[in-house]
Symmetry: C2
Subunit: 443 residues, 2 copies
């Protein structure tokens, strides 16, 4: 029986789950792999806390060096938070010839280049299945299962917190603030939910998927990110009447040598499989030129689902080590094209749009708006202007005004923004106009 020693750094929710699986499923993993994966040491800053999965004293490390300097430890499982500390740890681990498994999407999305290039140089493997969509094996699917495909588009619900909130807003008619508060009470949103709500977390994940799919690093500072903090129930309700469901969607797609990477509230047709993904679940749609449309669905967070992904990486690397594979690195790296991805600028996006204007309740406005859209070469697909609007909506709007919703065909972001600005400046609409992108088969 081959034996591989591993260590965990960071003993929080996921770390406890990983330890539990490794200890309680020794036999299952041995049966399946022929390898004994031994959890040798765990490091955390403070052992004086209560842990969901308490450890024997012999497994506790009181300094990182105990792990870094132990030549018998081949894999370090990095489960700390933030970026600076885990970056330093990763670089040291690579230097020491230790393979790394991490669930840290911020680290990989923002410092991936530094880590992967060094890892490649040293023949070190980085496992990061757990960094995107928790237990769903989407990294493996992109890297191996769909290897024969040019990926035309990846889009998905990659953040459970925001999906829970949007589901409550849609299905129960709750306002954003109330839905958020409930999510916090249920443990689906953190005390400080900023990175979830403002789209950063989903952006980290789509940046990783884009790198894998398109084979180059993403300059994360250039990813277009919008969160759900300003979403109003009114737009959710109005779009529902047009057959669209609001989701926070992360998108990566390629065209003309560029890759669009963006996260924003997005209307999906209600028959899109992602439109039916409710609550804290994640789902990723991957479109490949050979395979067509595939979807991967499951829990995107939580102790055991995330640990399930971490352990799959540990097993994968343990197998490589015990088979003496040094250079099977190419395909695990995000950098198979060996050049950074060329990201599309926001103004060059082409997509469909939902635009809500607040207009005085009198004749002629639609004609004026339509003529500006026509001038900017934007084709209108649907208009929703209702004689009577439900009371709830009416209350939100200035007296004597109604919402006018325009759904466009695929248009240039630049033109759309210019048209809306011109309409806004012209004075025949009131307040701020709302623009939400629409993703469907047309674009």
């Amino acid at each position: 029986m081959k034996e591989i020693n591993i260590a965990i750094v960071g003993y929080g929710v996921v770390g406890n789950g990983v330890a539990k699986i490794l200890e309680e499923k020794k036999q299952l993993l041995q049966d399946k792999t022929g390898i004994f994966i031994n959890l040798k040491k765990v490091f955390t800053r403070n052992w004086n806390k209560k842990f969901a999965y308490p450890l024997h004293e012999e497994k506790k490390a009181y300094s990182l060096d105990e792990i870094l300097n132990d030549d018998n430890i081949s894999i370090i499982v990095e489960l700390t938070g933030g970026i600076d500390f885990p970056l330093e740890l990763a670089l040291k681990a690579i230097e020491k010839g230790k393979h790394i498994v991490t669930a840290n999407k911020a680290l990989l999305a923002e410092k991936g280049k530094q880590i992967f290039l060094k890892a490649e140089e040293k023949g070190i493997r980085i496992g990061f299945e757990a960094s995107v969509a928790g237990g769903i094996p989407i990294i493996r699917a992109l890297r191996e299962g769909l290897v024969a495909n040019q990926i035309t588009k990846i889009y998905g619900i990659l953040n459970g917190t925001t999906n829970y909130i949007l589901t409550s807003m849609l299905n129960e008619g709750k306002e954003f603030e109330i839905a958020l508060k409930e999510a916090q009470e249920l443990g689906y949103a953190e005390a400080d939910p900023t990175l979830d709500i403002n789209g950063t977390d989903a952006a980290h994940k789509i940046a990783i998927l884009a790198s894998l799919a398109y084979g180059g690093f993403v300059d994360f500072s250039k990813v277009h990110i919008e969160g759900i903090e300003n979403i109003s129930l009114m737009d959710i309700e109005l779009a529902k009447e047009l057959g669209y469901i609001l989701k926070l969607i992360a998108i990566a797609k390629s065209h003309d040598g560029e890759v669009e990477v963006r996260v924003h509230p997005t209307f999906l047709p209600s028959d899109n499989p992602l439109a039916k993904v409710d609550g804290v679940f994640n789902a990723v749609m991957v479109e490949g030129d050979a395979v067509g449309e595939t979807m991967f669905y499951g829990k995107g967070a939580g102790s055991l689902p995330t640990a399930s992904a971490v352990v799959s990486d540990i097993v994968d690397i343990a197998k490589s080590i015990s088979n003496n594979i040094g250079r099977e690195i190419e395909i695990t790296s995000m950098n198979w094209k060996h050049k950074d991805l060329n990201l599309t600028k926001v103004k060059d996006f082409f997509t469909r749009y939902y635009v809500r204007f607040t207009v005085p309740d009198k004749t002629g406005i639609l004609a004026k708006i339509s003529s500006v859209f026509a001038k900017y070469n934007i084709s209108i697909a649907a208009v929703l202007q209702k004689e009577k609007v439900i009371n709830k909506i009416k209350e939100e709007l200035p007296k004597g005004t109604v919402p006018l919703v325009i759904l466009t065909h695929t248009a240039s972001e630049n033109n759309l923004q210019s048209a809306v600005k011109e309409i806004q400046d012209s004075g025949f609409v009131e307040g701020k106009s709302i623009i939400i992108r629409v993703e469907d088969e047309e674009n």
Copy 2:
């Protein structure tokens, strides 16, 4: 650049797709893997046909021996039909030290034991991602991505033909025969659709998944299989009123050291993600003790989707070969527990049931039926007995009778069958009673 030579045997729809991908995506595959995968030879019985992807003369083999005796060919892609010929081919290929990739579910489900045991003995890898659910990387997910899980249940829509037919019946109110005819016209059903319609194809696939998940071979002759040939529109419509959708579901689940492997028409709650999978799409739900519920969705058939899976296996094996991995066999085999699975007998199934009786339109019948159910310890969850039934349904039933539907809680199959038989024999119902299993969270 490492070079791996492969050969295809059988040049039909999938074979043409594989050749197309290998030829047209040489560069992509090299970029991603660092290996040049060279399609050296293709064998088919008759080269005098038109092919979707015609080949240069130098790639055409006119005898199998040209391939089997070529020491430079490391991988044989078996894409013939039937069982006897591919079995013989596989055994010869293993003997010659050639790795095998196959999309043949019948072969693996019925002769897998013979092939895998011999392959294991000789250090040969068998890739079979394409044998289940076309392009969806479900084999890899079970083998690697979810390796840390005890799989509690796998269930899914594994046959696109029957799902297309059931979707037309449900959404368009078409009778079975008409829906089948249309599926044939659209190329979604074969001229002889027997193995799809009667559930055998789905059963082959779930037998393979059960082997992988539970680590032992399945005696295919003991798999319980029912098809959709006798499904009536009436049951689809009645169950819809109770919130259930009919699908042909393949199920594998384990309990008490046994594994239940079965395929039959099944009612799913309409909010189950599988209930929303329409048309020719496939989807597999996998429940693991760590990961929870995950779903994999995509096209289950077709030239390029299936070829996408075949090529993923070719790449995987090419990487192993070029890394000199001989013994990374354990995890690719279906036999990691090294014992055959102990299959649950039909009479020992525990599940929920939909039972439709045809009863005279008079009082007291429900009381009689209920008392028989109670006697057999079967708890009733819902009853649907309508004063008025739609004309369409009325026409199908004998004059003066109405349908009475009973939905049970989880019950023993043995008891359920006995209860229905007793009711049937008692003479207070007419015609044949319909029993359809129901799959939901309770069971």
